[in-house]
């Protein structure tokens, strides 16, 4: 029969159209909210989703996975006295590995001796050149540079970030990437423990190696 294929196709669209309402009613009967709730958004972006699929940005936002990467930021630790302690040692690995070369680091020198000290005086990232590849965070040996989750960067000018804008506390890092933070902390502790063990006794040669 001519037209059978079209009818078959239309049955698909028809089914998908009603699926939205079937889902809505079933959520209603279970007393749950399908829209503007985290549960609803999670369900709509899972493989069990049926019917309407879209998320109403900006009122709703997709749940970002932990590994999601957007422009980088610098991490500082807060000492108990409230002092900011930068993790960056201006070793330059991030600037060297950066594919579009958007990181500029000015090293600090000790004013008395003139020798370089492990801290940057200035640190610039040109966010308009940054390609969000994540190499800087991946290869930083001190976990001092981390990829952010904040992707709403629209501005009227150039987004050249200096140290003021780049530095964010370690607690922020913990809030956006809890698993990575835990892993890094564990590694750091293991490394420090190994160092301490090594320093404590040259007599005990087999210090536990830091595992990664």
């Amino acid at each position: 029969m001519y037209g059978k294929g079209i009818l078959k196709g239309l049955s698909v669209t028809w089914k998908r159209f009603w699926n939205t309402y079937i889902e809505d009613i079933s959520w209603l009967l279970r007393g749950k909210k399908r829209y503007f709730t985290e549960e609803g958004i999670k369900h709509r972006s899972s493989s069990a989703t049926r019917g309407i699929f879209t998320v109403q940005y900006p009122e709703e936002q997709l749940i970002t996975p932990e590994e999601m990467r957007y422009v980088p930021f610098l991490v500082y630790d807060e000492t108990p006295e409230g002092k900011r302690e930068q993790r960056c040692t201006s070793c330059g690995i991030c600037a060297k590995v950066c594919p579009p070369q958007c990181i500029w680091i000015v090293r600090s020198n000790d004013p008395n001796t003139g020798r370089p000290i492990p801290e940057p005086t200035e640190f610039y990232i040109d966010m308009d050149i940054c390609m969000n590849c994540g190499f800087c965070a991946e290869y930083c040996p001190f976990d001092a540079i981390i990829m952010d989750h904040d992707f709403e960067l629209a501005s009227l000018g150039r987004n050249v970030y200096d140290m003021e804008k780049l530095l964010k506390p370690a607690s922020y890092y913990k809030s956006i990437r809890p698993l990575n933070y835990e892993r890094n902390e564990a590694e750091r502790k293991a490394k420090e423990a190994a160092k301490a063990a090594k320093a404590a006794g040259a007599a005990t040669p087999s210090a536990p190696a830091a595992t990664s």
Partner: protein, 586 residues
């Protein structure tokens, strides 16, 4: 830990001994870690004819020019393959690097070298004698210099190789636009006045189109008209232009004009270090960044001669196949958009794509620009919850959704009558013109690199190489559905077999040591053969980084495909090649 080594020994053993076939003429390339045969340019056509006719290498897949600057040598490297499978044959021609650099054109042996020779002329200034239409292809006619030559420098030139010294240790922030202010950031050749410039390229372009006056049946003089299709056109999937001569509604001649999105990816790649190229490959075919990463990693791993961690091999295959599924779904959606079935199939396809991109985001951090592969493995392991998500998707959802797409479209009378019998390309022409991927398989040639020249761990999986026999539009649509089903089969096996273990055989290093040599790594990307030809001289940056992009090579027979068809079908004939501009223009 079981590992798979790159198969360098087997390929070397199985290649033919051209030196014995042509004693005194063809010599083996004896540079360390180089492969292939060096042919003097006087004998090139003769030897190439033998390679094609007698030895059966019917598919010339890759042509790359190389500039050896201090040695004053220009080299053209060819990679030929058999469509029946097996390893390839690499041969090269060396000529002195003094203008005019001339190499005979192989267009008479393999017509598919057409655009690749034009590209080598454009970017390296190698003149292919005997080429009928040797115009620039990516840059515009009148452009000064050949950008890929090693002594050519770009307007924003800083240093030859990254990392640049001004970032670290002599950190000094500057903005590029401050160094080159607006209206002052252009360099013109001497004696050039933009006000008086006449675009000679256009005259050459129209001159290359056959145009004549004919008498029709009623004895009236009719004239062909030239129609410029694009560059801004909703159906060209980006900025693409085709200059078409029309005889009524029938296409009488066609020349694609490309390069609007050209950024000289290869020059950027030669400035970069090896690892820095990885995120740049994402930007080639931006629908399939995982597949692009795959090819590039294969090429560099061949050079470094390192194994890939077992678990990483499986993760790579899973990601590449997921990428193929979403690419083909989008292809079907876009093809239907081009036919006028606006958005319903396309948006249904986008739903599944969203779910696959969610997985990419969870493992790599980005939805499209994944940058996930590293030499020897992948960046990070797939977490258990994401692995469960992939399983849910593959085992429960994608199969059903593919069937749904099938139900929605395959029997639709409008689609069938619009696409059945619209001839795309026949098998012989497709091979001659180096067409690869689903378009070639839709003509009945079972050539799939996953089977023909297996890489990674594809030899462990059971799957069929899909073919269709008619090579019309409808077959090209159906073969995509077939391939999605086969990809799902591979995915199911891979997800069941994937072992635990490390995800990289190497220690993470921001600079890798790549021994000197040359390697061609290729994989079956969803659009065809994606190859990377990388030459290392032992330094941190590649000496030559060439991309054999399937989109670029696949449009070579576009004119041949379109002549005789109606102008309304051009949109579909172009759409069926599944071209992505990021890869076409590079």
């Amino acid at each position: 830990m079981a590992t798979t080594l790159p198969q360098t020994e087997t390929t070397q053993a199985a290649t033919v001994d051209l030196g014995a076939r042509f004693p005194g003429i063809v010599t083996a390339d004896n540079r360390p870690a180089y492969k292939g045969w060096i042919i003097p340019k006087e004998n090139l056509i003769e030897v190439a004819t033998v390679i094609h006719d007698e030895l059966g290498y019917d598919l010339l897949s890759n042509l790359a020019g190389v500039d050896y600057f201090p040695e004053n040598i220009m080299e053209v490297v060819y990679h030929a393959y058999k469509t029946t499978g097996g390893p390839g044959l690499e041969f090269k021609v060396q000529v002195p690097r003094e203008d005019p650099v001339e190499v005979p054109s192989l267009i008479g042996v393999w017509p598919g070298v057409d655009f690749q020779e034009r590209e080598a002329w454009d970017l390296l200034g190698i003149r292919f004698t005997g080429h009928p239409d040797l115009r620039r292809i990516l840059m515009w006619e009148g452009y000064e210099g050949h950008p890929l030559r090693k002594d050519w420098k770009e307007p924003f030139y800083e240093e030859d190789f990254k990392p640049f010294k001004s970032r670290w240790p002599d950190g000094q922030f500057h903005m590029a636009e401050e160094k080159n202010p607006y209206k002052d950031n252009l360099k013109f050749p001497g004696g050039f006045d933009p006000e008086k410039w006449i675009p000679e390229g256009e005259a050459l372009l129209y001159g290359s189109l056959a145009r004549y006056t004919v008498k029709n049946e009623e004895g009236l003089n009719t004239d062909q008209i030239v129609l410029n299709f694009g560059p801004q056109h909703p159906s060209t999937h980006g900025v693409f232009r085709a200059a078409i001569t029309l005889e009524g509604e029938t296409i009488a001649g066609l020349k694609p004009v490309i390069g609007y999105l050209h950024r000289n990816h290869e020059k950027i790649g030669e400035r970069n270090t090896y690892i820095q190229n990885m995120p740049f490959t994402d930007r080639l075919d931006y629908f399939n960044s995982m597949a692009n990463n795959f090819s590039y990693a294969l090429a560099v791993e061949k050079l470094m001669n390192i194994p890939v961690a077992e678990r990483a091999e499986y993760i790579r295959v899973i990601m590449a196949e997921l990428s193929r599924v979403q690419n083909h779904l989008i292809f079907i959606g876009n093809l239907l958009n081009d036919m006028g079935a606006m958005y319903t199939p396309a948006l249904y396809a986008f739903e599944e794509r969203e779910l696959i991109l969610d997985i990419f985001e969870a493992v790599s951090g980005a939805r499209m620009m994944c940058n996930y592969f590293r030499f020897g493995g992948v960046v990070r392991d797939v977490p258990d919850d994401v692995m469960q998500k992939i399983k849910d998707l593959v085992f429960d959802r994608l199969q059903a959704k593919t069937d749904e797409m099938d139900r929605l479209l395959s029997e639709n009378e409008v689609l069938v009558s619009r696409s059945k019998g619209v001839h795309v390309i026949d098998a012989e022409t497709a091979i001659q013109y180096s067409v690869t991927g689903p378009v070639l398989r839709a003509t009945g040639i079972p050539y799939d690199i996953r089977r023909a020249d297996p890489y990674s761990i594809y030899d462990r999986f059971e799957f069929d190489v899909c073919t269709r026999s008619n090579g019309d539009l409808y077959d090209n649509y159906l073969i995509r559905l077939d391939e999605i089903r086969q990809s799902l089969r591979i995915l199911e096996q891979a997800l069941k077999q994937i072992p635990q273990g490390p995800i990289n055989s190497q220690k993470p290093a921001y600079q890798v040591r790549v021994p000197a040599g040359a390697a061609y790594g290729r994989s079956e990307s969803p659009k065809g053969e994606l190859g990377f030809y990388v030459i290392s001289n032992g330094k941190p940056n590649p000496w030559r980084y060439h991309v054999r992009a399937p989109s670029f090579v696949n449009i070579t027979p576009l004119e041949k495909m379109c002549i005789g068809n109606k102008i309304a079908d051009f949109v579909l004939l172009f759409g069926v090649l599944d071209v992505v501009m990021g890869e076409l223009d590079r």
